[in-house]
Assembly symmetry: C2
Homo-oligomer: 388 residues x 2
Amino acid sequence: MLLPELKRRRDKIRSLMAQHHVDAALIACNTNLLYTCGQIINGYLYLPLASPACLFVKRPNMISGEQIYSIGKPEEITGILREQGLPIPGAIMLEGDELSFGEYNRLAALFPESEAINGTPLLRRARSIKTEMEMEMFRRAGIAHAKAYGKIPPVYREGMTDIEFSIEIERLMRLEGSLGLFRIFGRSMEIFMGSLLAGSNAAEPSPFDFALGGKGIDPSAPVGASGIVIRKGQSVMVDYVGNFNGYMCDMTRVFSVGQLPQEAYTAHQVCLDVQETVASLAKPGAVCEDLYNAAVDVAAKAGFADYFMGAGRKARFVGHGIGLEINESPVLAPRIKTELEAGMVFALEPKIVLPEVGAVGIENSWAVTTEGVEKITCCREEIIDLLG
Amino acid sequence: MLLPELKRRRDKIRSLMAQHHVDAALIACNTNLLYTCGQIINGYLYLPLASPACLFVKRPNMISGEQIYSIGKPEEITGILREQGLPIPGAIMLEGDELSFGEYNRLAALFPESEAINGTPLLRRARSIKTEMEMEMFRRAGIAHAKAYGKIPPVYREGMTDIEFSIEIERLMRLEGSLGLFRIFGRSMEIFMGSLLAGSNAAEPSPFDFALGGKGIDPSAPVGASGIVIRKGQSVMVDYVGNFNGYMCDMTRVFSVGQLPQEAYTAHQVCLDVQETVASLAKPGAVCEDLYNAAVDVAAKAGFADYFMGAGRKARFVGHGIGLEINESPVLAPRIKTELEAGMVFALEPKIVLPEVGAVGIENSWAVTTEGVEKITCCREEIIDLLG
């Protein structure tokens, strides 16, 4: 990646560091390394407020044009910094919500005279405003994602289980270039590529904080498709991550096996209305909780309050920031006072679960521009009949 | 899962806790929850040395037959323990190498009068000796894994890229029941389902500590297949994780496109010889570094020292424990004095990289029995010609 782009990202972090009186950051976790170095490396980026960054690499990598030092272990870092004449930071920022307790303490011990500060919230804040190049990465991901989804109907065969249908969709995503990896902030949520929810499985709760659940096929992976045969009159909700270049594009489309009850089409249209309402309000300065409330209002006025964002167990958000991870800032949820800013990218996913029929609704990824929002996942939004 | 099985696992942890003067453990991470509860939950298992365990669940789950408490946040745990009359632990064990720094401190703060101890090494030690039921889970995974690999030759088509071939193998694995999720201890290594290495890509380094590397198709996922067309005269090494039930079965087989140079068959046979040598020495009491040295000896005597376990960048191990994660204890590597014990399960993967041809070699998963080892991934081990 071009160094000006990396410098832009690093300077965004530095500007937040300056606001928080942090003198340097030591970055060790894959997502933040990918953000600041343009690639996954096995090593550490030392980012001082006022000097060029130094990269400490444990394994050979094709990196050039920077101050790079080969190390065997992190304990070698401080000696090299000293040799380079860099001052000991008064406050050093470490990834406190990402590094393990053991690793954090090991890295903090490299700077015994410095105050160690949890830098994860600040790094996530920096990453929440995408650069123009990141926006372009998202647009490309959106195009590939939509292209894969466009190929879904022909891979359905009558009598398939939800898992079998999932597998064919995973294959389409991979053939369009999906890397498969699903990066999630935090250690508790795990999912493989995405989820396909058919019929009543859409109402099954999962232990994870995704918009919807699903039973899964094993207690070790309790989310998504559950191995049931997809039946006539059921909806099939397809919600996969579009990781084509590191950026987690997010998109949901709904299919049906034959005709659904009229209520499903009504509910689907309500979700499209929610999307239109929120998209019309979303622009720099709009407050996340207001967008959430506007979404809930539309669903409630249409009579779907009980089924909006889940039946029984409900998701308490209608949208979430996306980036190198699927769950970035901002979150469109109650009590979130964050204002949208140009450069943010979020997924908006109004969904309604009809217990016998399944889930309906929509999800697209949206980039916040200076004037409003731009949809980056463009393909048909109506319920598509797989038999039609 | 049956409670006697869970009690057996928990008592294994308790017995190590007693040795280390730990009074209670609070378990919060998915892998350890899966081990101690038989399923992934969103919550915490409180495991005292001398009283029954208490499960604190944040989201509804179908769990019965235990002391279960519904909570909104972990701060509610200690009040409930007090109400139950459980004593404050003198030393409490937390997952210090798995929880983030922030989470560890939050959980440690629940027990301000207790000494917090990093329990990750002890939990990994307990998990390294499988129960009879876990062995059975591995045997079943091995059968499904071998079945999927047996179907590989027909999905190859001439002119395929390595990625296209990967995608068809991923599909075979999923159709046999693979859950897809690839669980790895530690935060630094990331891979999707496994790796396929064709031709010279096998010699490309990656930042990760897997046996071999590969360039990958994007800087955000630098490992495995690289998008090149597979050519005649090249080897194709297929190394996928067989996660059919939470247990990470590991198996590698080598294919060729047409005839390979004779050296490749010689090198492959050397790897089979390494496997036979190590398997004949492996039994309770055998020391890991001795097994590693025996492996290197066989390769060196055959003249392949320079290419054994990588050309250029070399892996410094020839085998690794497997379980709910791909990298468990023991590791067959230099300076590892761990002795094998009945109940351990490990992958043995002697591999040789021939720069122009690709990688050859073998990997099987082995269970340590009271007398020796049992191979749990059984299918053809010779190089199979995809054109033949």
